[in-house]
């Protein structure tokens, strides 16, 4: 028994090392540049692939060949990081934080397709480490020699990073920039050089984290997404920007996983509870608990506000008459389409309407309420499942079942929101992600009720809605109505209170607004309408699966909002339309549609840092100024 515990403890230590390397890199980059680098998992993946190629090149059977290959791979990834910093990120340090997130997401798409192009689709199983192929005997159990090395690498890198940060001038500058980068610039430090250096270090650590996994982890194209979510969790649990915290969190999560596996099935009061299944979600449960108890992570501190980078959003003006006329014209035009267009256009437009509503609800949170959600798909998905279960289990007619959608979405948001509004910024976003993942894993595993990973099928609308044109009209009325309602709310007293709370919580509090409660209700309202979008989605597709509340759908929502521009009300609608249309049309014409989508997003990000709608607004304002000047 003791031997089993010791071995699982050692497994946990070995698993923690590489997780720590990746998370430390992510944390350092965030600390200085305030960029949440979504592409960090992609850098890890490149580390594994490059190590595979380079170790083969240097000779897999020699010790020099193996470690030389691993180090070279990490260096190469570091240089790729430098390239990314110089070509893309340097141009958008002044853009809103979320826009930087969008740019790094585009990089994920591009890097994935690049890896597919270079290394192909097949999984590449790397060689075992030369000289460390065997195992050692520990308490009568065999433990891989290589894992002992891994156990050592974590603390060694932690120590080296500590020396670098605390005993070198460069490290001092990095720490200073983490505190106040404007001041560091004012004191004559070459900021861009510093940033590039930090990016090299962060990317190098991600690459090293990947490369050392070569003997344990086959190189494959899903690694990027798998790793980035783990790394985010570690960084947030440890406290953003804290390297020691990242180490502690990596250790905690890896140990929790190893022990869940070691415990296996436990029978509690006659029901068997499988801890090994719990590994699906254990890190997110840990993150949720840590964030609820310690809002800035285990060793994190509240981040100082960045000077200059902090941008007060321009106020939203009351919607004027011209605006309503334009909206009315567009709606009428959309209403006429069934009389002219082909059937598939209607299908596409239903998707666009549903996702536009989804994006508007997310924007309602991100914009007027000032709460960024990384897990908004949870409410969309709960809406899907609410409607589906009302139809299939309660045998309600479809029209009534649709009511269950906003109910389920709203109820989920009511519960999760109560915890989330207690936090702010990235921590809030990560807590929404944690809740979304927990909801996802429950639905994914609850076979008897939710259909498990297969989902639920046979969710078709009532007879009178079966005609595509009729369903289109139905969806259009509901989506447009909901969107207009949410826009109206932004300009109602409720919306003013939300915006006041976002712009200055202290002042809002002073005039008697209970900011937290308003945020909580705002969160719930947004969740309810996201749920409605989900319900419509379920009936338009006839089937749903846990993917409706997976991370990728939340990310899609973020991309839509950011593409359109977070500062305008209409932006998310434009973003949803563009994103859905791009995905549909590009995917049909090329095998490498991910890369094309990524490059398109990058171009948009670099060309219009305010989003599409923000850009048109700027242009309109400029034209207005010119006209006035002409008069």
């Amino acid at each position: 028994m003791l031997a089993n515990i010791v071995i699982q403890f050692m497994n946990g230590l070995a698993g923690a090392s590489s997780l720590f390397l990746v998370a430390a890199g992510l944390s350092i980059i965030f600390g200085v540049s305030r960029i949440v680098n979504f592409a960090h998992g992609s850098l890890y993946m490149l580390g594994v692939y490059l190590a595979y190629t380079l170790v083969e090149f240097f000779g897999r059977s020699s010790i020099f060949g193996f470690w030389g290959g691993v180090l070279m791979a990490a260096l190469c990834v570091g240089l790729i990081g430098v390239l990314i910093e110089i070509v893309v990120l340097r141009r958008i340090y002044r853009a809103p934080e979320l826009f930087q997130l969008l740019a790094t997401f585009a990089l994920v798409l591009v890097i994935k397709d690049a890896a597919l192009y270079i290394w192909g689709a097949e999984d590449l199983v790397g060689p075992r480490a030369a000289g460390l192929r065997g195992a050692v005997e520990i308490m009568g159990k065999r433990f891989p020699q290589y894992d002992l090395v891994l156990i050592a690498i974590g603390p060694v890198v932690l120590g080296l990073l500590w020396l670098l940060m605390n005993r070198t001038r460069w490290g001092t500058l990095v720490r200073a920039a983490t505190q106040d980068r404007e001041m560091v610039g004012a004191l004559g430090v070459n900021q861009s050089g510093l940033f590039t250096g930090v990016f090299f270090l962060g990317a190098f650590l991600a690459g090293l984290g990947g490369a050392v996994q070569l003997p344990r982890e086959p190189a494959q194209l899903m690694l990027d997404i798998t790793v980035i979510s783990d790394a985010f969790v570690v960084v947030v649990v440890g406290g953003m920007g804290s390297i020691g915290g990242a180490f502690l969190a990596a250790l905690l999560i890896a140990q929790a996983k190893a022990f869940c596996i070691g415990i296996g099935d436990v029978s509690i009061f006659g029901t068997v509870f499988s801890f090994s299944k719990f590994t699906l979600v254990v890190e997110f449960v840990i993150m949720a608990v840590v964030l609820v108890v310690r809002p800035w992570g285990l060793l994190g501190k509240q981040q100082g506000v960045q000077r200059g980078a902090f941008m007060v959003e321009p106020p939203l003006y009351p919607l004027n008459q011209t605006f309503w006329i334009v909206v009315l014209a567009i709606v009428v035009l959309l209403g006429l389409i069934p009389f002219g267009g082909d059937n598939y256009l209607l299908v596409l437009l239903i998707d666009i309407a549903v996702f536009a509503l989804f994006a508007v609800t997310l924007h309602f949170l991100m914009g007027p309420s000032g709460m960024v959600s990384f897990g908004h798909a949870a409410y969309f998905g709960l809406g899907c499942y609410g409607a589906a279960l009302a139809l299939l289990k309660l045998k309600l007619p479809m029209e009534l079942a649709l009511f269950a959608a906003p109910l389920a979405g709203g109820l989920g948001a009511l519960v999760f929101g109560w915890f989330c509004v207690r936090l702010s910024g990235v921590y809030l976003a990560m807590l929404t992600l944690a809740f979304a993942q927990i909801a996802w894993s429950v639905i994914y595993q609850w076979d008897a009720f939710t259909g498990g990973s297969n989902g639920l099928i046979g969710l078709w609308p009532s007879e009178w809605l079966k005609n595509r044109a009729v369903f289109y009209a139905f969806a259009l009325v509901l989506c447009v109505g909901s969107i207009l309602f949410l826009w109206r709310v932004v300009h109602a007293p409720f919306g003013y209170a939300l915006r006041a709370g976002r712009d200055s919580a202290l002042r809002a509090d002073a005039i008697g607004i209970n900011v937290r409660r308003f945020q909580w209700f705002g969160f719930t309202l947004s969740g309810a309408f996201a749920g409605l979008a989900g319900g419509l989605f379920a009936f338009s597709k006839g089937s749903i699966s846990p993917e409706t509340l997976a991370v990728s759908r939340s990310v899609d929502g973020l991309v839509m909002v950011l593409l359109g521009g977070v500062q305008t009300l209409t932006g998310p609608v434009a973003g949803a339309a563009l994103f859905t249309w791009l995905q549909d049309s590009i995917a049909r014409n090329t095998e490498y549609w991910r890369a094309i989508l990524g490059l398109t997003i990058l171009v948009i990000v670099l060309a219009f840092p305010q989003g599409i709608a923000g850009f048109t607004k700027q242009v309109a304002a400029r034209i207005g100024v010119m006209r006035r000047e002409a008069v």
């Binding site: 699982q8 199983v125 195992a135 891989p144 990973s453 989902g455 006839g542 089937s543 749903i544």
Partner: protein
Amino acid sequence: MDRRSWLKLSAAFGAAMFAMSGAQAQDTIKIGEMNSYKNFAAFLEPYKKGWELAVEQANASGGVLGKKIEIVSRDDNGNPGDAVRIAEELVTREKVSFLIGTFPSHVGLAVASFAKEKKVLFIAAEPLTDKIVWDQGNKYTFRLRASTYMQTAMLVPEAVKLKKKRWAIVYPNYEYGQSATAAFKQLMKAAQPDVEFVVEQAPPLGKIEAGAVADAIAAAKPDAIFSSLFGPDLAKFVREGQTRDLFKGVEVFNLLAGEPEYLDPLKDEAPAGWWVTGYPWYAITTPEHKAFADAYQKKFNDYPRLGSIVGYATVQSAVAAIKKAGSLDTEKLVAGMKGLTHSTPLGNITYRPQDHQSTMGAYVGKIGLKDGKGVMTDWYYADGAKFLPSDADVAKMRPAE
């Protein structure tokens, strides 16, 4: 370029476009194909080559009903929402006669539900879920590959022969792994009542902590292991298990592990002695298979994987169904698919009228090492028809049409 040559060029272009659209409308039969090419590229690239070869051969021999076959292929992003949208696009805009393809079970089920609602024939190529033909089967959906239940049932006779009492089970935590485990336990208990399942590990798909899982299994001291891991999870489990001596003196059964897609990446670490289902393309000598393998290698300069067979046979089924129906009318096609028998590289298969499952089998054998590569040895072909539940059981599971 002057104006006249512009005119000429555009006239020629217009004529060409007209000719092309005319040709499409008249001379081809369009079949809609969709799959998660990007999500499961290792399996689906060979699959695509497989159907390309089948289409080429069908058209070279004159097509069907005097027309050429044209496949309109799309990536469904491995998610049901996109898959249904693409299915609608294929049916309404491309006007395809019916649908084929799909890989993951939830996508297959979503398209099956779409097929039932819109009354379109759908030949599910790859999804392994038992539900697509049983619990959630429908009139318009047929499935080619041997399902999770069938492949598990193929391994059980070998497992029973060993008379091992203490079994450990490891499976990816989603429907395929759960079904395989449930089927294995049920069939083993029926065949060998004293069997004990001493430990169950369900790592998340694609995220196995292989070392910890191997140690947890070893701690339970099993006589044998039943696994349904595949892909990177399998590779990690094999390596960690070997380093930790998990497999010494323990018999291991692993669904799918003999498929070249999953066996070949293991190279010289392929676990010799494991019982697996798979596809030993290098050793099959039947004339049907030889003709296929030769043509495949000639066209692509690469050896066939199991995916190649699936892609090839799916199009063969489609062609045979059209031939038998003699028309592109959905109801006639569905009637034609019921009980359809045709030849494939693995031998003749029949789509059973009672549940729309084809009798395509799989190869059962042991992994061996040859020239630093994993191969299947002592293998035999297990005909799918022999590993299906009784008609009464099927009727109980499958909803009435």
